[in-house]
Amino acid sequence: MKLITAIIQPDKLDEVRESLIKAEITRITVTRCTGHGQHQREDQGEDMFRGQLIVPDLVPKIRLDIACNDEFTDIAVDAIVAAAKHGDGHIGDGKIFITALEECIRIRTYERGGKAI
Protein backbone atom coordinates (compact mmCIF):
# COMPACT_ATOMS: atom_id res chain seq x y z
CA MET A 1 0.00 0.00 0.00
CA LYS A 2 1.13 3.53 -0.71
CA LEU A 3 0.20 6.99 0.56
CA ILE A 4 0.23 9.57 -2.19
CA THR A 5 0.51 13.17 -1.02
CA ALA A 6 0.09 15.73 -3.77
CA ILE A 7 0.57 19.48 -3.37
CA ILE A 8 -1.18 21.37 -6.19
CA GLN A 9 -2.35 24.86 -7.14
CA PRO A 10 -5.82 25.73 -5.77
CA ASP A 11 -7.25 26.66 -9.19
CA LYS A 12 -6.55 23.14 -10.47
CA LEU A 13 -8.40 21.35 -7.68
CA ASP A 14 -11.60 20.71 -9.62
CA GLU A 15 -9.78 19.45 -12.70
CA VAL A 16 -7.63 17.11 -10.60
CA ARG A 17 -10.69 15.78 -8.80
CA GLU A 18 -12.49 15.19 -12.08
CA SER A 19 -9.43 13.46 -13.51
CA LEU A 20 -9.12 11.20 -10.45
CA ILE A 21 -12.81 10.34 -10.54
CA LYS A 22 -12.45 9.45 -14.23
CA ALA A 23 -9.61 7.08 -13.27
CA GLU A 24 -11.99 5.59 -10.68
CA ILE A 25 -10.06 6.94 -7.71
CA THR A 26 -12.74 8.47 -5.54
CA ARG A 27 -11.44 8.09 -1.97
CA ILE A 28 -9.39 11.19 -1.33
CA THR A 29 -8.76 13.70 1.44
CA VAL A 30 -8.35 17.36 0.50
CA THR A 31 -6.83 20.05 2.71
CA ARG A 32 -6.10 23.70 2.24
CA CYS A 33 -2.44 24.40 3.08
CA THR A 34 0.26 26.97 2.55
CA GLY A 35 3.96 26.76 1.94
CA HIS A 36 6.85 27.98 -0.12
CA GLY A 37 8.87 26.26 -2.78
CA GLN A 38 10.60 27.17 -6.00
CA HIS A 39 7.51 29.13 -7.04
CA GLN A 40 8.17 31.83 -4.49
CA ARG A 41 11.90 32.20 -5.18
CA GLU A 42 11.33 32.56 -8.91
CA ASP A 43 8.86 35.35 -8.25
CA GLN A 44 11.08 37.35 -5.97
CA GLY A 45 14.39 36.58 -7.61
CA GLU A 46 16.72 37.15 -4.68
CA ASP A 47 16.52 36.31 -1.04
CA MET A 48 18.30 39.54 -0.24
CA PHE A 49 16.55 42.81 -1.00
CA ARG A 50 18.18 46.19 -0.17
CA GLY A 51 20.43 44.55 2.35
CA GLN A 52 17.57 42.77 4.11
CA LEU A 53 16.95 39.06 4.12
CA ILE A 54 13.54 38.41 2.59
CA VAL A 55 11.56 35.65 4.25
CA PRO A 56 9.50 33.93 1.55
CA ASP A 57 5.77 34.53 1.80
CA LEU A 58 3.37 31.65 2.35
CA VAL A 59 1.55 30.70 -0.85
CA PRO A 60 -1.84 28.97 -0.66
CA LYS A 61 -1.82 25.41 -2.02
CA ILE A 62 -4.05 22.36 -1.91
CA ARG A 63 -2.93 19.06 -0.45
CA LEU A 64 -4.47 15.77 -1.55
CA ASP A 65 -3.91 12.57 0.40
CA ILE A 66 -4.73 9.33 -1.35
CA ALA A 67 -4.12 5.93 0.19
CA CYS A 68 -4.13 3.17 -2.42
CA ASN A 69 -3.00 -0.36 -3.19
CA ASP A 70 0.27 -0.60 -5.09
CA GLU A 71 -1.28 -1.32 -8.50
CA PHE A 72 -3.27 1.96 -8.39
CA THR A 73 -0.30 4.20 -7.57
CA ASP A 74 0.71 4.95 -11.16
CA ILE A 75 -2.88 5.42 -12.26
CA ALA A 76 -3.42 8.03 -9.54
CA VAL A 77 -0.12 9.79 -10.25
CA ASP A 78 -0.85 9.97 -13.98
CA ALA A 79 -4.32 11.37 -13.31
CA ILE A 80 -2.95 14.07 -11.00
CA VAL A 81 -0.07 15.09 -13.26
CA ALA A 82 -2.31 15.28 -16.34
CA ALA A 83 -4.76 17.63 -14.63
CA ALA A 84 -2.57 19.73 -12.33
CA LYS A 85 -0.29 21.21 -15.02
CA HIS A 86 -0.86 24.74 -16.25
CA GLY A 87 -0.39 24.48 -20.02
CA ASP A 88 2.86 22.60 -20.65
CA GLY A 89 3.84 22.94 -17.02
CA HIS A 90 4.79 25.97 -14.95
CA ILE A 91 6.90 26.50 -11.86
CA GLY A 92 4.52 26.17 -8.93
CA ASP A 93 2.34 23.42 -10.42
CA GLY A 94 3.21 21.30 -7.40
CA LYS A 95 4.74 18.04 -6.28
CA ILE A 96 3.72 14.47 -5.52
CA PHE A 97 5.22 12.49 -2.64
CA ILE A 98 4.74 8.72 -2.36
CA THR A 99 5.40 6.93 0.90
CA ALA A 100 5.02 3.32 1.93
CA LEU A 101 1.85 2.80 3.95
CA GLU A 102 2.23 0.39 6.83
CA GLU A 103 -1.35 -0.28 7.75
CA CYS A 104 -4.91 0.80 6.95
CA ILE A 105 -7.90 0.11 9.20
CA ARG A 106 -11.56 0.76 8.47
CA ILE A 107 -13.11 2.07 11.68
CA ARG A 108 -16.61 0.70 11.02
CA THR A 109 -15.60 -2.96 10.53
CA TYR A 110 -12.03 -3.21 11.87
CA GLU A 111 -10.96 -4.60 8.48
CA ARG A 112 -7.20 -4.24 7.94
CA GLY A 113 -4.82 -3.92 5.00
CA GLY A 114 -5.58 -3.65 1.26
CA LYS A 115 -9.27 -4.44 1.51
CA ALA A 116 -9.84 -1.56 3.94
CA ILE A 117 -8.63 1.05 1.45
Binding site: P10, D11, K12, D14, R32, P60, I62
Partner: protein
Protein backbone atom coordinates in the same frame (compact mmCIF):
# COMPACT_ATOMS: atom_id res chain seq x y z
CA UNK B 1 3.10 70.17 -23.14
CA UNK B 2 0.65 67.32 -22.90
CA UNK B 3 0.58 67.50 -19.11
CA UNK B 4 -0.44 71.17 -19.21
CA UNK B 5 -3.08 70.77 -21.88
CA UNK B 6 -4.98 68.00 -20.11
CA UNK B 7 -5.84 69.85 -16.84
CA UNK B 8 -6.80 72.91 -18.87
CA UNK B 9 -9.20 70.85 -20.99
CA UNK B 10 -10.59 69.23 -17.86
CA UNK B 11 -11.16 72.58 -16.19
CA UNK B 12 -12.93 73.85 -19.31
CA UNK B 13 -15.14 70.74 -19.42
CA UNK B 14 -16.06 71.16 -15.75
CA UNK B 15 -16.91 74.83 -16.32
CA UNK B 16 -19.07 74.03 -19.34
CA UNK B 17 -20.91 71.20 -17.56
CA UNK B 18 -21.55 73.20 -14.42
CA UNK B 19 -22.56 76.40 -16.25
CA UNK B 20 -26.34 75.77 -16.27
CA UNK B 21 -26.43 75.53 -12.50
CA UNK B 22 -25.27 79.18 -12.17
CA UNK B 23 -28.32 80.27 -14.10
CA UNK B 24 -30.69 78.23 -11.93
CA UNK B 25 -29.33 79.14 -8.51
CA UNK B 26 -32.71 80.45 -7.28
CA UNK B 27 -35.75 78.19 -6.90
CA UNK B 28 -38.87 78.92 -8.89
CA UNK B 29 -41.02 81.39 -6.83
CA UNK B 30 -44.13 79.21 -7.37
CA UNK B 31 -42.59 76.26 -5.54
CA UNK B 32 -44.69 74.92 -2.64
CA UNK B 33 -43.00 74.67 0.78
CA UNK B 34 -40.67 71.76 1.46
CA UNK B 35 -42.25 69.07 3.65
CA UNK B 36 -39.37 68.48 6.02
CA UNK B 37 -40.91 65.32 7.53
CA UNK B 38 -41.35 63.71 4.13
CA UNK B 39 -37.90 64.86 3.03
CA UNK B 40 -36.31 63.35 6.13
CA UNK B 41 -38.06 60.02 5.57
CA UNK B 42 -37.18 60.00 1.87
CA UNK B 43 -33.51 60.64 2.71
CA UNK B 44 -33.66 57.74 5.17
CA UNK B 45 -35.41 55.51 2.63
CA UNK B 46 -32.79 56.35 0.01
CA UNK B 47 -30.07 55.12 2.36
CA UNK B 48 -32.14 52.04 3.30
CA UNK B 49 -32.62 51.01 -0.33
CA UNK B 50 -28.89 51.36 -0.98
CA UNK B 51 -28.29 49.13 2.07
CA UNK B 52 -30.11 46.39 0.17
CA UNK B 53 -27.28 46.23 -2.39
CA UNK B 54 -24.54 45.11 0.05
CA UNK B 55 -27.32 42.96 1.57
CA UNK B 56 -27.84 41.34 -1.82
CA UNK B 57 -24.07 40.97 -2.26
CA UNK B 58 -23.93 39.05 1.03
CA UNK B 59 -27.03 37.01 0.21
CA UNK B 60 -25.68 35.95 -3.20
CA UNK B 61 -22.05 35.83 -2.05
CA UNK B 62 -22.83 33.27 0.63
CA UNK B 63 -24.72 31.02 -1.77
CA UNK B 64 -21.95 30.39 -4.31
CA UNK B 65 -18.85 28.21 -3.97
CA UNK B 66 -15.78 29.58 -2.18
CA UNK B 67 -13.87 30.18 -5.42
CA UNK B 68 -16.57 32.59 -6.67
CA UNK B 69 -17.48 34.54 -3.54
CA UNK B 70 -15.71 37.78 -4.45
CA UNK B 71 -16.69 37.66 -8.11
CA UNK B 72 -20.33 37.28 -7.09
CA UNK B 73 -20.22 40.09 -4.54
CA UNK B 74 -18.47 42.24 -7.16
CA UNK B 75 -21.55 41.89 -9.37
CA UNK B 76 -23.67 43.73 -6.80
CA UNK B 77 -21.00 46.29 -5.95
CA UNK B 78 -20.21 46.92 -9.63
CA UNK B 79 -23.89 47.80 -10.14
CA UNK B 80 -23.54 50.51 -7.47
CA UNK B 81 -20.61 51.97 -9.39
CA UNK B 82 -21.88 51.58 -12.96
CA UNK B 83 -25.57 52.43 -12.52
CA UNK B 84 -24.55 55.07 -9.97
CA UNK B 85 -22.78 56.92 -12.79
CA UNK B 86 -25.39 56.24 -15.47
CA UNK B 87 -28.35 57.27 -13.30
CA UNK B 88 -26.83 60.58 -12.21
CA UNK B 89 -25.75 61.41 -15.76
CA UNK B 90 -28.65 60.39 -18.03
CA UNK B 91 -30.76 57.68 -16.36
CA UNK B 92 -32.97 59.93 -14.28
CA UNK B 93 -33.56 62.34 -17.16
CA UNK B 94 -34.57 59.40 -19.38
CA UNK B 95 -36.87 57.80 -16.82
CA UNK B 96 -38.68 60.74 -15.27
CA UNK B 97 -38.66 63.42 -17.96
CA UNK B 98 -41.76 64.22 -20.06
CA UNK B 99 -42.63 61.74 -22.85
CA UNK B 100 -40.50 61.67 -25.98
CA UNK B 101 -40.44 59.12 -28.84
CA UNK B 102 -44.18 58.59 -28.41
CA UNK B 103 -43.82 57.87 -24.71
CA UNK B 104 -41.16 55.16 -25.14
CA UNK B 105 -38.93 57.05 -22.69
CA UNK B 106 -38.90 60.48 -21.14
CA UNK B 107 -36.36 63.24 -21.49
CA UNK B 108 -35.75 66.20 -19.25
CA UNK B 109 -32.67 68.14 -20.46
CA UNK B 110 -32.51 70.09 -17.20
CA UNK B 111 -31.91 66.83 -15.36
CA UNK B 112 -28.94 65.82 -17.49
CA UNK B 113 -26.24 65.30 -14.83
CA UNK B 114 -28.99 66.20 -12.31
CA UNK B 115 -28.07 69.82 -13.02
CA UNK B 116 -31.28 71.45 -11.80
CA UNK B 117 -30.48 71.15 -8.11
CA UNK B 118 -33.17 73.55 -6.85
CA UNK B 119 -36.01 71.74 -8.59
CA UNK B 120 -38.93 70.64 -6.41
CA UNK B 121 -40.75 67.32 -6.59
CA UNK B 122 -44.40 67.94 -5.66
CA UNK B 123 -46.07 65.52 -3.27
CA UNK B 124 -49.42 65.40 -1.41
CA UNK B 125 -51.31 66.57 -4.50
CA UNK B 126 -48.95 69.51 -5.04
CA UNK B 127 -49.39 71.30 -1.69
CA UNK B 128 -45.83 70.56 -0.59
CA UNK B 129 -42.62 69.23 -2.07
CA UNK B 130 -39.38 67.39 -1.49
CA UNK B 131 -36.17 68.37 -3.30
CA UNK B 132 -36.18 66.61 -6.68
CA UNK B 133 -32.61 65.46 -6.05
CA UNK B 134 -33.87 63.38 -3.11
CA UNK B 135 -36.46 61.74 -5.37
CA UNK B 136 -33.83 61.21 -8.08
CA UNK B 137 -31.42 59.54 -5.67
CA UNK B 138 -34.19 57.42 -4.13
CA UNK B 139 -35.14 56.18 -7.60
CA UNK B 140 -31.45 55.70 -8.44
CA UNK B 141 -31.12 53.01 -5.78
CA UNK B 142 -33.92 51.02 -7.44
CA UNK B 143 -32.07 51.32 -10.73
CA UNK B 144 -28.95 49.94 -9.04
CA UNK B 145 -30.51 46.93 -7.36
CA UNK B 146 -32.50 45.73 -10.38
CA UNK B 147 -29.59 44.69 -12.64
CA UNK B 148 -27.73 43.45 -9.54
CA UNK B 149 -30.63 41.03 -8.93
CA UNK B 150 -30.21 39.49 -12.40
CA UNK B 151 -26.61 38.51 -11.59
CA UNK B 152 -27.86 35.64 -9.42
CA UNK B 153 -29.16 33.78 -12.48
CA UNK B 154 -25.74 33.51 -14.14
CA UNK B 155 -23.66 33.34 -10.97
CA UNK B 156 -20.26 31.62 -11.11
CA UNK B 157 -19.91 31.62 -14.90
CA UNK B 158 -19.66 35.06 -16.51
CA UNK B 159 -16.82 37.41 -17.41
CA UNK B 160 -16.61 40.61 -15.44
CA UNK B 161 -16.27 43.02 -18.37
CA UNK B 162 -19.14 41.36 -20.24
CA UNK B 163 -21.26 41.73 -17.11
CA UNK B 164 -20.35 45.42 -16.72
CA UNK B 165 -21.32 46.26 -20.29
CA UNK B 166 -24.48 44.14 -20.06
CA UNK B 167 -25.84 45.87 -16.95
CA UNK B 168 -24.98 49.32 -18.32
CA UNK B 169 -26.95 48.60 -21.51
CA UNK B 170 -29.73 46.82 -19.60
CA UNK B 171 -30.09 49.76 -17.23
CA UNK B 172 -30.42 52.21 -20.13
CA UNK B 173 -32.53 50.17 -22.54
CA UNK B 174 -34.69 48.01 -20.26
CA UNK B 175 -34.89 49.71 -16.86
CA UNK B 176 -35.25 53.38 -17.87
CA UNK B 177 -38.16 52.84 -20.31
CA UNK B 178 -39.97 50.51 -17.85
CA UNK B 179 -39.55 52.96 -14.97
CA UNK B 180 -40.89 55.68 -17.24
CA UNK B 181 -43.96 53.69 -18.30
CA UNK B 182 -44.88 52.72 -14.74
CA UNK B 183 -43.87 55.66 -12.56
CA UNK B 184 -43.52 58.86 -14.65
CA UNK B 185 -46.69 61.00 -14.44
CA UNK B 186 -47.28 60.52 -18.19
CA UNK B 187 -46.20 56.88 -18.35
CA UNK B 188 -48.69 54.80 -20.34
CA UNK B 189 -48.93 51.88 -17.89
CA UNK B 190 -49.63 54.31 -15.04
CA UNK B 191 -52.36 56.00 -17.08
CA UNK B 192 -53.86 52.62 -17.90
CA UNK B 193 -54.49 52.19 -14.16
CA UNK B 194 -51.85 49.52 -13.50
CA UNK B 195 -51.01 49.41 -9.80
CA UNK B 196 -47.33 49.00 -9.06
CA UNK B 197 -46.60 50.53 -5.71
CA UNK B 198 -42.88 49.99 -5.26
CA UNK B 199 -41.64 48.24 -8.36
CA UNK B 200 -43.07 44.75 -8.73
CA UNK B 201 -43.15 45.20 -12.49
CA UNK B 202 -40.19 47.50 -12.98
CA UNK B 203 -37.82 45.79 -10.56
CA UNK B 204 -38.80 42.22 -9.81
CA UNK B 205 -40.64 41.03 -12.90
CA UNK B 206 -38.18 42.68 -15.29
CA UNK B 207 -35.19 41.30 -13.34
CA UNK B 208 -36.79 37.86 -12.91
CA UNK B 209 -37.68 37.44 -16.58
CA UNK B 210 -34.35 38.80 -17.80
CA UNK B 211 -32.63 36.43 -15.38
CA UNK B 212 -34.46 33.45 -16.86
CA UNK B 213 -33.51 34.51 -20.39
CA UNK B 214 -29.84 34.93 -19.40
CA UNK B 215 -29.71 31.61 -17.53
CA UNK B 216 -31.13 29.73 -20.52
CA UNK B 217 -28.95 31.47 -23.13
CA UNK B 218 -25.68 31.31 -21.17
CA UNK B 219 -26.23 27.68 -20.16
CA UNK B 220 -25.59 25.79 -16.95
CA UNK B 221 -22.50 25.88 -14.81
CA UNK B 222 -20.00 23.10 -15.58
CA UNK B 223 -21.18 19.98 -13.81
CA UNK B 224 -24.71 21.24 -13.10
CA UNK B 225 -26.81 19.46 -11.86
CA UNK B 226 -24.74 16.30 -11.16
CA UNK B 227 -22.06 18.03 -9.09
CA UNK B 228 -23.15 19.27 -5.68
CA UNK B 229 -22.55 23.03 -5.51
CA UNK B 230 -22.78 23.91 -1.86
CA UNK B 231 -23.12 27.44 -0.51
CA UNK B 232 -19.78 28.58 0.91
CA UNK B 233 -21.21 30.61 3.77
CA UNK B 234 -24.87 30.48 4.79
CA UNK B 235 -24.07 32.72 7.76
CA UNK B 236 -23.35 35.53 5.33
CA UNK B 237 -26.48 34.64 3.34
CA UNK B 238 -28.62 35.01 6.46
CA UNK B 239 -27.09 38.37 7.31
CA UNK B 240 -27.69 39.47 3.72
CA UNK B 241 -31.34 38.39 3.85
CA UNK B 242 -31.71 40.31 7.12
CA UNK B 243 -30.26 43.47 5.56
CA UNK B 244 -32.59 43.05 2.59
CA UNK B 245 -35.58 42.89 4.92
CA UNK B 246 -34.44 46.03 6.77
CA UNK B 247 -33.72 47.86 3.53
CA UNK B 248 -37.08 46.86 2.07
CA UNK B 249 -38.85 49.23 4.48
CA UNK B 250 -37.17 52.03 2.55
CA UNK B 251 -38.10 50.34 -0.72
CA UNK B 252 -41.83 50.01 0.06
CA UNK B 253 -42.61 52.61 2.72
CA UNK B 254 -40.34 55.09 0.91
CA UNK B 255 -42.42 54.60 -2.21
CA UNK B 256 -45.27 56.46 -0.48
CA UNK B 257 -43.20 59.59 -1.26
CA UNK B 258 -44.39 61.12 1.97
CA UNK B 259 -44.52 60.62 5.68
CA UNK B 260 -48.14 59.87 6.50
CA UNK B 261 -50.80 57.16 7.01
CA UNK B 262 -50.00 55.61 3.63
CA UNK B 263 -46.33 55.31 4.65
CA UNK B 264 -47.36 53.55 7.84
CA UNK B 265 -49.60 51.14 5.91
CA UNK B 266 -46.86 50.29 3.41
CA UNK B 267 -44.42 49.63 6.25
CA UNK B 268 -46.90 47.46 8.15
CA UNK B 269 -47.94 45.28 5.22
CA UNK B 270 -44.27 44.82 4.25
CA UNK B 271 -43.54 43.42 7.70
CA UNK B 272 -46.67 41.24 7.73
CA UNK B 273 -46.09 39.74 4.27
CA UNK B 274 -42.41 38.97 4.85
CA UNK B 275 -43.04 37.37 8.23
CA UNK B 276 -45.93 35.26 6.94
CA UNK B 277 -43.99 34.09 3.91
CA UNK B 278 -40.95 33.15 6.01
CA UNK B 279 -43.15 31.19 8.37
CA UNK B 280 -45.04 29.42 5.59
CA UNK B 281 -41.82 28.45 3.78
CA UNK B 282 -40.32 26.75 6.84
CA UNK B 283 -43.63 25.02 7.61
CA UNK B 284 -43.76 23.60 4.05
CA UNK B 285 -40.14 22.45 4.44
CA UNK B 286 -40.83 20.91 7.82
CA UNK B 287 -43.70 18.92 6.32
CA UNK B 288 -41.87 18.02 3.11
CA UNK B 289 -38.36 17.27 4.46
CA UNK B 290 -38.89 17.05 8.24
CA UNK B 291 -36.36 19.90 8.60
CA UNK B 292 -36.66 23.68 8.55
CA UNK B 293 -33.60 25.21 6.88
CA UNK B 294 -31.99 28.62 7.26
CA UNK B 295 -31.91 29.07 3.48
CA UNK B 296 -35.61 28.21 3.40
CA UNK B 297 -36.42 30.90 5.92
CA UNK B 298 -34.38 33.43 3.92
CA UNK B 299 -36.09 32.38 0.67
CA UNK B 300 -39.47 32.82 2.36
CA UNK B 301 -38.53 36.32 3.54
CA UNK B 302 -37.60 37.29 -0.01
CA UNK B 303 -40.68 35.71 -1.59
CA UNK B 304 -42.92 37.65 0.81
CA UNK B 305 -41.08 40.93 0.32
CA UNK B 306 -41.20 40.61 -3.46
CA UNK B 307 -44.90 39.70 -3.52
CA UNK B 308 -45.89 42.67 -1.35
CA UNK B 309 -43.78 45.15 -3.32
CA UNK B 310 -46.35 45.98 -6.04
CA UNK B 311 -49.19 45.73 -3.49
CA UNK B 312 -47.78 47.64 -0.50
CA UNK B 313 -50.00 50.69 -1.00
CA UNK B 314 -53.26 49.00 -1.85
CA UNK B 315 -53.77 45.93 0.35
CA UNK B 316 -54.47 45.57 4.05
CA UNK B 317 -52.63 43.46 6.59
CA UNK B 318 -54.76 40.33 6.09
CA UNK B 319 -54.34 40.67 2.33
CA UNK B 320 -50.59 41.04 2.81
CA UNK B 321 -50.50 37.86 4.87
CA UNK B 322 -52.44 35.98 2.18
CA UNK B 323 -50.07 37.30 -0.51
CA UNK B 324 -47.02 36.29 1.53
CA UNK B 325 -48.30 32.78 2.26
CA UNK B 326 -49.31 32.05 -1.34
CA UNK B 327 -46.06 33.53 -2.70
CA UNK B 328 -44.03 31.15 -0.53
CA UNK B 329 -46.07 28.19 -1.70
CA UNK B 330 -45.67 29.10 -5.38
CA UNK B 331 -41.95 29.91 -5.13
CA UNK B 332 -41.22 26.73 -3.18
CA UNK B 333 -42.57 24.57 -5.97
CA UNK B 334 -41.01 26.67 -8.76
CA UNK B 335 -37.60 26.22 -7.15
CA UNK B 336 -38.15 22.45 -7.06
CA UNK B 337 -39.44 22.40 -10.65
CA UNK B 338 -36.27 24.20 -11.83
CA UNK B 339 -34.14 21.11 -11.28
CA UNK B 340 -36.62 18.97 -13.24
CA UNK B 341 -36.77 21.47 -16.11
CA UNK B 342 -32.97 21.59 -16.21
CA UNK B 343 -32.19 25.32 -16.52
CA UNK B 344 -29.56 26.68 -14.15
CA UNK B 345 -31.08 29.80 -12.56
CA UNK B 346 -28.30 29.43 -10.02
CA UNK B 347 -29.61 31.58 -7.17
CA UNK B 348 -33.31 31.41 -8.09
CA UNK B 349 -33.80 34.93 -9.39
CA UNK B 350 -36.69 33.85 -11.59
CA UNK B 351 -37.93 31.33 -9.04
CA UNK B 352 -38.27 33.98 -6.33
CA UNK B 353 -38.29 37.46 -7.89
CA UNK B 354 -39.97 36.54 -11.17
CA UNK B 355 -42.62 34.25 -9.75
CA UNK B 356 -43.43 36.18 -6.56
CA UNK B 357 -43.31 39.47 -8.50
CA UNK B 358 -45.80 38.28 -11.13
CA UNK B 359 -47.99 36.71 -8.48
CA UNK B 360 -48.02 39.86 -6.30
CA UNK B 361 -48.76 42.14 -9.24
CA UNK B 362 -51.73 40.02 -10.35
CA UNK B 363 -53.12 38.92 -6.99
CA UNK B 364 -53.15 42.41 -5.46
CA UNK B 365 -56.39 42.92 -7.42
CA UNK B 366 -58.03 40.24 -5.26
CA UNK B 367 -56.96 41.73 -1.94
CA UNK B 368 -57.55 45.46 -2.55
CA UNK B 369 -58.39 47.53 0.52
CA UNK B 370 -61.96 48.79 0.43
CA UNK B 371 -60.83 52.45 0.18
CA UNK B 372 -58.43 51.72 -2.68
CA UNK B 373 -61.10 49.77 -4.56
CA UNK B 374 -63.50 52.72 -4.21
CA UNK B 375 -60.79 55.11 -5.36
CA UNK B 376 -60.12 53.00 -8.47
CA UNK B 377 -63.84 52.67 -9.16
CA UNK B 378 -64.17 56.47 -8.99
CA UNK B 379 -61.26 56.94 -11.39
CA UNK B 380 -62.29 54.37 -13.97
CA UNK B 381 -66.07 54.69 -13.86
CA UNK B 382 -68.93 52.26 -13.34
CA UNK B 383 -67.35 49.56 -15.50
CA UNK B 384 -64.52 49.06 -13.01
CA UNK B 385 -64.48 45.68 -11.29
CA UNK B 386 -61.92 43.42 -9.67
CA UNK B 387 -61.88 41.38 -12.86
CA UNK B 388 -61.17 44.53 -14.88
CA UNK B 389 -58.30 45.44 -12.55
CA UNK B 390 -56.90 41.91 -12.85
CA UNK B 391 -56.97 42.33 -16.65
CA UNK B 392 -55.10 45.65 -16.43
CA UNK B 393 -52.53 44.12 -14.08
CA UNK B 394 -52.08 41.12 -16.40
CA UNK B 395 -51.55 43.43 -19.36
CA UNK B 396 -48.93 45.49 -17.47
CA UNK B 397 -47.15 42.31 -16.36
CA UNK B 398 -47.28 40.90 -19.90
CA UNK B 399 -45.92 44.08 -21.47
CA UNK B 400 -43.09 44.38 -18.92
CA UNK B 401 -42.19 40.69 -19.19
CA UNK B 402 -42.26 40.62 -22.98
CA UNK B 403 -40.25 43.83 -23.31
CA UNK B 404 -37.65 42.71 -20.76
CA UNK B 405 -37.33 39.27 -22.37
CA UNK B 406 -36.93 40.54 -25.93
CA UNK B 407 -34.41 43.28 -25.16
CA UNK B 408 -32.45 41.05 -22.78
CA UNK B 409 -31.99 38.31 -25.37
CA UNK B 410 -30.71 40.89 -27.88
CA UNK B 411 -28.31 42.39 -25.32
CA UNK B 412 -27.02 39.08 -24.01
CA UNK B 413 -26.31 37.76 -27.53
CA UNK B 414 -24.68 41.07 -28.50
CA UNK B 415 -22.39 41.15 -25.46
CA UNK B 416 -21.55 37.44 -25.73
CA UNK B 417 -20.63 37.67 -29.43
CA UNK B 418 -18.58 40.87 -29.14
CA UNK B 419 -16.89 41.08 -25.73
CA UNK B 420 -17.61 37.58 -24.45
CA UNK B 421 -20.07 37.05 -21.62
CA UNK B 422 -19.84 33.34 -20.76
CA UNK B 423 -16.62 32.37 -18.99
CA UNK B 424 -14.44 29.72 -20.69
CA UNK B 425 -14.30 26.29 -18.99
CA UNK B 426 -10.71 26.63 -17.71
CA UNK B 427 -11.38 29.92 -15.93
CA UNK B 428 -14.78 28.76 -14.76
CA UNK B 429 -13.07 25.76 -13.13
CA UNK B 430 -10.40 27.92 -11.52
CA UNK B 431 -13.12 30.21 -10.13
CA UNK B 432 -13.93 33.84 -10.82
CA UNK B 433 -12.00 35.17 -7.82
CA UNK B 434 -8.68 33.77 -9.01
CA UNK B 435 -9.24 33.93 -12.76
CA UNK B 436 -10.94 37.33 -13.10
CA UNK B 437 -9.96 39.31 -10.04
CA UNK B 438 -6.66 37.76 -8.90
CA UNK B 439 -7.90 37.53 -5.32
CA UNK B 440 -9.44 35.03 -2.99
CA UNK B 441 -12.15 35.60 -0.42
CA UNK B 442 -11.00 33.63 2.57
CA UNK B 443 -7.73 32.62 4.20
CA UNK B 444 -7.39 28.99 5.17
CA UNK B 445 -11.14 28.49 5.52
CA UNK B 446 -13.41 26.09 3.64
CA UNK B 447 -12.60 24.65 0.24
CA UNK B 448 -15.82 24.33 -1.68
Amino acid sequence: MKSIRFPAALAAAVLILSAPSFALAQPDPGTPPIDSGATAWMLTSTALVLLMVPGLAMFYGGLVRTKNVLGTMMHSFAAMAIIGVIWASVGYALSFGPNILGGFVGWNPKMLFLADDTSAYRINGGVSCIPELVFAMFQGKFAIITPALIAGAFAERVRFRGYCVFIALWGLIVYCPLAHWVWAPDGFLLKMGAQDYAGGTVVHISAGISALVCAIYLGSRRGYPQTAMHPNNLVMTMMGAGLLWVGWFGFNAGSSLGSNFETARALTVTQAAAATAALVWVIIEAIHHRKATSLGLCSGILAGLVAITPAAGVVGVSGAMALGALASLLCYFTVIAKTRLGYDDSLDVFGIHGVAGIFGALALSLFLRHENAIDLANRFGPNWSVGHQLGVQAMAVGIAAAYAAIVTIVLVVLVDKTLGFRLDPVRENAGMDHALHGEHGYGLLNLQ
